[in-house]
Subunit: 579 residues, 2 copies
């Protein structure tokens, strides 16, 4: 009667998914595999059961699956844990991406494909699939192990680098050459956005959720959570980042809320429903005919992805100082491609620089490597043992030496403590700098648009710039104080009495004053450059800076109080006192 093809398709998918989940659970096989096989069976390319009427519908539903999978992943994420695997994640992700792009490019060249096809193939192989890994680790019950946390860290770094890669590829496709400046600027903007969003998010969202939780209505909490999740995704889309990144970030922000357990519980059924759809959809996109036609390239690329990723990720993880077993488990967990490859393939098509076959090949390789993922993860432990037994003694000894050497260059005791203090100060300065930068960028970009027609443009600009500076004062004061502390520390260490003699105290004081003042002037110049579109003439600028400076000096203590209150609020949200 009022049946739409949408409901029909959804019904077919859920029915099949229901059958398959029971069957595969009974056979003790990964359900993800079952979903994909089911997708192939009901898909449009296998004639007897073309049960799906509208492929676009399914793709849309699958995208919702990505949102909920990434959101759930964010909920289970911990900023503290990321910090603890930071070096490993960065090193492994960079090794993997550089190597896989090169391997992909060479394979494309080997098959005599056009240069652009080869470049895009390289990019497609670079990034592993967060959704598939999360699902597989979840099913195998390994999500909370240390190697899994490392994998998540690597995936986050990859996702950030992927955004840069998309900017790079667009640039190459349009201009035909690499635009390093554009890539750096994109990555810089992305990092800035992430820092500001996380800081503001962690200040606001957990408090809002605590307020809503007091109504004690599961429905109100759920709808609020979904509203925040989708609202943030909208913001992220507006800034032209991927919705997957947005869902992940808002999840990570909510992970700092005290209602986390309840939220996870509420979101779980919705995630399970849409992730089933997501994996069935992957199967749906698989065309056996293309598989056959491009069987040889697909096979070679699949092998390259599995071997290449296992080797490069394991290597990166090992070089960062982890033992061989953990490295192997990390590498074997990351050996697949997924949603990001489809995005890259679609980008090439929409820019009209790649051939038509690239998309189905990407889907086929993704499906195949997805099939292998759970088996690879399961096989990692025995395989690591096998490698260990089969490696020749000199190799083992060499690797042992490396690990020992890495241990030996780790800073010890006093020095380690000092390094930790310096690192914390630098982190604080960077976060405050990001906030100030965001304030000026926002004023420069949105201010003139909002206030257009509200009086003389020069006056408006001067007011905007003053407002931005005034808003930034607490953060600038904090930066000044942190830098002064850092400078004093450095002065203490660098100016030794045995060398400076009577000038020791004076030299130290000069250094301790010069560094923060110099840095502050540098920051102000940087901010002026950022906000050049609303920058008042220099004489006006001087008046504004002096006036705001006077305000800063007058309310010095209050500003410090305000900033430390914000800092404490942030700290308390992330480290809740024991109930």
């Amino acid at each position: 009667m009022h049946a739409t093809s949408f409901i029909h398709d959804l019904a077919v998918i859920m029915l099949i998914a229901g059958l398959v989940t029971v069957l595969f659970h009974r056979l003790r096989q990964p359900v993800v595999l079952g979903y994909i096989v089911a997708g192939v069976i009901i898909g449009p390319y296998t004639p007897p059961f073309a049960l799906i009427q509208d492929e676009a519908t399914v793709k849309t539903l699958a995208e919702l699956g990505v949102v909920f999978l990434m959101f759930s992943l964010g909920l289970e994420f911990s900023l503290k844990k990321l910090a603890s695997v930071g070096v490993t994640a960065l090193l492994a992700a960079l090794t993997e991406i550089v190597a896989m792009v090169a391997i992909g490019f060479q394979i494309g060249k080997y098959f005599g494909w056009a240069t652009m096809d080869a470049v895009f193939l390289g990019a497609m192989l670079a990034i592993s699939s967060t959704t598939i890994i999360v699902k597989a680790l979840d099913e195998l019950g390994l999500k909370n192990e240390r190697f899994a946390q490392m994998i998540f860290g690597i995936l986050i770094v990859e996702d950030i680098l992927a955004i840069g890669m998309i900017a790079l590829l667009s640039g190459i496709a349009i201009s035909g050459r690499v635009e390093a400046g554009a890539v750096l600027s994109t990555l810089g903007q992305l990092s800035l956005f992430m820092v500001v969003a996380l800081v503001l998010g962690i200040l606001i969202v957990p408090r809002l959720l605590a307020y809503v939780a007091r109504f004690e209505s599961r429905e109100v909490l759920l709808v609020t959570v979904l509203g925040l999740c989708f609202g943030f995704c909208l913001l992220v889309l507006q800034l032209e980042y991927s919705i997957a990144l947005g869902a992940f970030m808002i999840g990570a922000i909510m992970a700092e809320s005290r209602e986390l357990k309840q939220i996870e519980h509420l979101v779980e059924p919705i995630r399970d429903m849409f992730s089933a759809i997501f994996f069935v959809a992957i199967g749906l996109l698989l065309d056996p005919a293309v598989l056959l036609q491009y069987a040889w390239p697909i096979a070679l690329i699949t092998v390259a992805v599995v071997v290449g990723k296992v080797v490069t990720c394991s290597l990166g993880t090992f070089v960062a100082g982890n033992d061989g077993r953990t490295s192997m488990r990390v590498g074997m967990g990351l050996a697949q491609i997924g949603e990001f490859s489809f995005i890259i393939a679609a980008l090439g098509l929409s820019l009209k620089v790649t051939s038509d076959f690239l998309y189905p090949v990407a889907v086929a390789v993704s499906a195949l490597t997805t099939l292998f993922t759970p088996y690879l993860i399961r096989a990692a432990e025995p395989f690591a043992g096998l490698v260990n037994r089969l490696s020749p003694e000199p190799v083992k000894r060499g690797l042992g030496y490396y690990t020992a050497w890495l241990q030996s260059i780790q800073p010890q005791e006093e020095r380690a403590e000092l390094l930790a203090i310096v690192r914390r100060i630098v982190l604080h300065v960077l976060v405050n700098l990001c906030l100030v930068t965001a304030i000026f960028l926002a004023a420069a970009y949105f201010g003139p648009e909002w206030l257009a027609g509200h009086g003389d443009a020069r006056l408006v600009n001067a007011l905007l710039w003053s407002a931005a500076l005034l808003l930034s004062v607490p953060f600038l004061v904090a930066i000044y104080r942190k830098l002064k502390a850092l400078a004093m520390l450095l002065a203490e260490l660098s100016v030794r009495p045995e060398m400076a003699g009577q000038l020791t105290a004076a030299s130290r004081r000069v250094i301790a004053e010069l560094i923060p003042v110099g840095a502050l002037i540098g920051i102000l110049l940087f901010l002026s450059a950022l906000s050049v579109s609303i920058l008042p003439p220099s004489e006006v600028l001087l008046v504004i800076v002096l006036a705001v400076g006077a305000v800063a000096v007058r309310f010095w203590k209050r500003l410090i109080q305000l900033h430390s209150r914000l800092q404490i609020a942030l700290y308390e949200t992330m480290n809740p006192p024991a109930p």
Copy 2:
């Protein structure tokens, strides 16, 4: 990047819904109202915030909301409770539908609309909105009260009658006259389908769920539940019934499962998400311009719906023997129109017999009456008190006499017990008859299609008919035995020794034998008529019936055992032993 308008629209809806749910909860107002207002604000007709890009998307999502709302309603439904409010439900629903169709028709005529417009307007006002009532009662925390159970009963009867109404309207629109036969046939088929689906469903589904629950995976259970839900909806759509009916029925079937609590818990978040979307979508469809243009008819129709439904439903409920307060609460809960009115309006448009303005008018009246629903439900109790105080003494006395008279004609003690036995036997016979009818209908409709080309058509038909009869034997035997018991009871009561004298025993035996045998022959003739398309020639038929009859006699005890095992399984599922 890969933002679709679908995700965008969903995000806007969820964001607004999240804001509104918190705001209205804070203001202690019904959240449903908030959702509708939010829908109007972001809707396409209020210029400043046309945030929704694709209306079709929203309608599709809203339909998913109907599925999950009806499914949840089914989960909370109990067949036993329906039986306990059966008479009230039937009487109130019939009173309401007949009166509202008449009122609607007269209003259409009053405004000088075309006859067809008036007829469709009548139909639009007939059926109340299940989804809106469920939501409102849930929010007010009244769902488990007796009057709410009566409302649900009335809504189910209405839904069944609505299907018949659609058939009737289609007939009128095409032929220009009322086709009573078609309506009766439609209603008969629908009842048959419901009985068979419920019996088979309650035999199969709870056992399947118990099996799946043993895996102890929340995901597997959820995906199985959703698979069953959507699978059944597909079946129902295939038979051209409404998806709302299907979702409700499979919910009612699962309500007999022992995993009910867990299932409700898993489905709740999904329902909350989609029901928020459903109510926002109602607001989206509201065009203030049409509201203004047709302000007067809309106002009159709204008043007619509220007053008409309150009066007719209260009256029907009171006449069925309930007290005034309960009757008033039932009537005031049912005073709105909803999704069914949109279906009728859409039907008229697609048949090209109604004018364009009817659809927006239906939406406006639905939105307005939906707005009033929670307030009416809340006001029911004080209003009933007010009516009671203001009614003149004679009226009160008259109503009191009626209630007392109704009490007096209720069967007492022995007679009541006897009536209960007879009712149970008749119910058993009817259920078995439905099953047998379904077997023969299935054989006649699907058999020839499936077996086409597998040999001689006459031979295939004869085999099909024999198979159907053989399958029906356990149920036919059960019917025979139940009817015999009934006949013996009747004989005992009707043939008194003081009148029949020495012939008493003989007369009783004749009656006890004649009735079941006669009924069985009647049933066989009825089945032959149903399966006329596969009926073998009469000599073959005779052979088949005699052969199957011989089998029945030969395996009499085994057949009784088989049937009673099925019956016990059904009974135990519906009346689980205390754990």
